[in-house]
Symmetry: D2
Amino acid sequence: MFRASEMLSAHPRQPELDAAVLARCIEECFACAQACTSCADACLGESNVQELVKCIRLNEDCKTACLATGEMLSRQTGADWGVLRAQLEACRQACATCAAECEKHAGHMEHCRVCADACRSCERACEELLSAIAA
Amino acid sequence: MFRASEMLSAHPRQPELDAAVLARCIEECFACAQACTSCADACLGESNVQELVKCIRLNEDCKTACLATGEMLSRQTGADWGVLRAQLEACRQACATCAAECEKHAGHMEHCRVCADACRSCERACEELLSAIAA
Amino acid sequence: MFRASEMLSAHPRQPELDAAVLARCIEECFACAQACTSCADACLGESNVQELVKCIRLNEDCKTACLATGEMLSRQTGADWGVLRAQLEACRQACATCAAECEKHAGHMEHCRVCADACRSCERACEELLSAIAA
Amino acid sequence: MFRASEMLSAHPRQPELDAAVLARCIEECFACAQACTSCADACLGESNVQELVKCIRLNEDCKTACLATGEMLSRQTGADWGVLRAQLEACRQACATCAAECEKHAGHMEHCRVCADACRSCERACEELLSAIAA
């Protein structure tokens, strides 16, 4: 369903770094944002919501950071890599923090297990892209 | 990469309507938002940007409406269907309007062709979900 | 702190409608989005969070709709008023629905009282702008 | 119009840092996001849009980072200060970079002058909050 690779290869200005790494990170950011929004809402629907307050909060922050990062990375014209690096770093940290919390509940709540996967996958994609930028 | 279906089936409160139709619409909204962000940026990188001003604007609005809709549909706890229906209608209209503009440039700009596809696909998904809600 | 009026009067293309009504609606949308984000989070911090699930959900949706609308209204170049009207209608409805829920708790929770005010104020600004567009 | 201070003082969990500094940063983030959205659009409406491509891009990124930061700071329940610090740092950098670009055009384009002011004001608010967190 995602067309990030197609869009990047049709772009008049080719990215200065590995387009596959970039496309993967963009897609992971949007997919993780969706999973976190859904996990926050699923936690809110659980009978023990009181115990899930921290999880909901970290889900919400991870969603916000991922959406911002996915959007910023989708732009290649006149990119400022200092700004993108800082945003990627914030996203990587939000994903790692949310994943660690969701993993605590992953054994008994499937939505936290799936969401933790999405966060870890996005965290790795951010790390890979940060390495590619540094190179 | 998307986990919208998995997240929906792991949700403590099952959606009141066809989960597959809902999951597809959520995924199309995020994928269309990504394509529109990328298309606006690709247009901005073209040498004839002056002629693409309307396309950039409609891309930006479509991205904004799609992100809002994808996020709102990802929440199933305590949903208000009147609000969701109105947001879906706004999204459907933004997609149709953006697609019509991108289609004008699709013959000579690949990013507009791919983006028009994303918009039409999301427009159809919104229509399907609107029908499912009305049923 | 807002500079929406200044920005509108410095814009190369003057809005086709009353700039003061437009500026007010833009500012109300962003201010309401902030209040709703804060109210959802305050509800999450209450000891009776279980009873506030619907309020949190409607706050989140109102925030999302308001942000999308404030952003779309901030753009005047190549505006499509059909799309804007539909988004404004979605926002008006989200504000009215969220306000009605917050008002139920306004007597004993100050954050719901302040948030209900923000929602009603934004709802009115959307109505005024919808009338201005129709004229 | 903003109610960030009122919302913070009505919150069941008081922020661990100076509430006035926090409220100011939240408000500056949303106001800067509005100014940047408007400036990108005003640039797009100028006859020399080709020369403003970098400005539009940096406006868009600054808007995205500011919205994300304003939203994340509006949440006080279960806050993770490592994540917030990283996002604030990304926002501070996006503001500084966008301001520097807008200042180049501020002499002949009023919207860039007003937007540069908004960016510098938000940059300072981020710095102040970063200092308060470190303290």
